[in-house]
Amino acid sequence: MNQAIKIVEALVDAQMRELFASCGSPLTPVLAEPTVNKEGAVAGMIGFTGDTVRGTLILLAPFQLVVASRPKQLRSHELSERNSGDWLLVRDWTAELANQLLGRVKNRLAKVGVTLRVSTPTALSGSALSVATPRSPRAKQYAFRAARGSVSLWWDATYDASFALTTESEGAAQGVREGDVVLF
């Protein structure tokens, strides 16, 4: 089981970096706990459950980093921390980032026999945001640095003793990858 969990944790790390790179905010992993400006921070959260694993993904980032990672079509409209309407947009995009990250992880875990069901994402912001004690003793915290600040990610997953990954079979039906379109 431990090897399977390590594979999942590496997958989460890789997908987090791929997601932010695709959003124009490449991340560098850091070992030390990052300093997020909690006065201007926002957290996106989404829950997941499967037959042998369940938990929550939490993404914590500063306002300006989330703004910098918004879709490029919308970046010409600048957002300000002093505008409450802009905070709504930043919370919305942070929730969507959490959703897209879990979607990437879910799609890849499905190929190795782990089916996840996901909740709808949510986000919150405020002063002195901090994450409560993770539920799982196997909770994994990741820290990254980007040009516009630091990001924290918690993969707070509880695994049953029977948690395992299958081998990805070459003959299995392939899903649709990020960015691809299939017309029927």
Partner: protein
Amino acid sequence: MSTILIIDDSVTVRQQVAHVLTQAGFSVAEARDGVDALERLNTLGDKVKVAICDVNMPRLGGLELLEELRKMPQFSKLAVLMLTTEGQPESVARAKELGAKGWMVKPFDPTLLLRAVSKLSGT
């Protein structure tokens, strides 16, 4: 030019898709979930040629919306393109079975989105 209904609980995604489509000359309408989409469709009627629809949404999700639309013959010509974070073959097959015309995984390529919408709307 056709009207495209964008159904997503993220306002940012709706704005992004709307930006791409309006730049290309489409008119757009927006809905924040499946329930909202049904209300919009009932109001707009057959002006809407294509719906771009998320899967994981509150109140009524994308696959459940497809099930509802199947029961409504007035929307039998509506082409639904799913736009979601999910990409598993089982979900894609389920959407196809329920009458969706396509599946796209976020983050989307604007060129591919426009090509798909143009084809589905016949423009």
